[in-house]
Amino acid sequence: MKLITHNMLTSKCMKGVTVGYPLKIQAVDVKTSEVDFNPEFISRLIPKVDWNVLCEAAESVGFLDDLPRELIENYENDVDFLKKAHRVLLEVDIINGELVCPETGRKFPINNGIPNMLLNEDEV
């Protein structure tokens, strides 16, 4: 699971959960893999990203590096900044671990890079 997905993912489909965001990450295995850099895509994506959540997620898995905690102005024109955002959003990959619902504590396992969001019958 990449952090772009984590930034969008919620547990709100569960019965009784209202926001279900952000999910807490308990990572066991994290790797990075190179993804082609597309500045236009990253610029278009940033307005949808919850920047605080991204920084906290990156920090919790040890990959915050020098990503600024505040979104800078005119980021579309700052290739250096976009590259840092690209790395954290698309290249950091959580292979094994758990996601935890902030409201119920329900754990969603991540195996082989794939979070299991399936709910039990009594949770829907």
């Binding site: 949808k48 794939i114 399936l118």
Partner: protein, 211 residues
């Protein structure tokens, strides 16, 4: 030939053997790729713009690979672990989630610029467990999908409805969830080549005036 949806629930039907076909059988691959290309065309995305898309029932990632080839980024969800494992082996670029669309799309509001779904939606018309109510599952799916798409985005579903009632069932729940749109039928007069696409729009700031 009996329909796969009548044989077993999807997470059972799409086991490792079935999943392998989706990487090895060139006829299956060709058909899935062609339908994906048509679905993307129907999305009417802004030209030359990399978009963030959702692939519903992404399976082994054949449809997702077409999204990648066209320069887009995607997240896929599927209920079959075997299919997702094959997608992972194929090293698709999209990020994958094990998830049942009938339980809803688990994303924040406004996440995706569009969504495609190739050969998956007919599965939702079936009740695989006694607790499954197709109408409710379809409504939950469409309403949560509506919420996680950006304004004036489209969702295109190629699917195999069993009959007219199923087309009606699906469309009614989609409209109830807030979408507007309808069916596009390619090659309507050929039983073999005929392909059915449900094209849905969120509408953005357009005034909604359907009943």
């Amino acid at each position: 030939m009996s329909r796969p949806e009548h044989l077993a629930p999807p997470e059972i039907f799409y086991n490792e053997d079935e999943a392998k076909k989706y990487t090895q059988n060139s006829r299956i691959i060709d058909i899935q790729v062609q339908m994906s290309e048509r679905a993307i065309e129907l999305l009417l995305l802004p030209e030359d713009t990399p978009c963030f898309l959702l692939d519903i029932g992404c399976g082994s990632g054949l449809s997702g690979s077409v999204l990648e080839d066209q320069g887009h980024y995607w997240t896929g969800l599927d209920i079959s672990k075997a299919m997702l494992d094959v997608a992972q082996e194929r090293e698709v670029e999209g990020d994958l989630l094990l998830s049942d669309m009938g339980q809803g799309c688990p994303f924040r509001a406004g996440t995706f610029d569009g969504a495609i779904s190739i050969s998956a939606l007919q599965w939702l018309c079936n009740a695989d467990k006694t607790s499954h109510k197709p109408v409710q599952r379809l409504y939950k799916f469409f309403s949560s999908l509506y919420a996680c798409m950006s304004r004036s985005a489209r969702a295109v579903f190629q699917f195999y409805p069993e009959n007219g009632d199923q087309m009606e069932l699906v469309t009614t729940q989609a409209m109830k969830a807030g979408f507007y749109g309808g069916m596009v039928i390619d090659y309507p007069h050929s039983t073999k080549a005929k392909k059915i696409f449900l094209v849905l729009m969120t509408g953005g700031c357009v005034v909604h005036n359907y009943p």
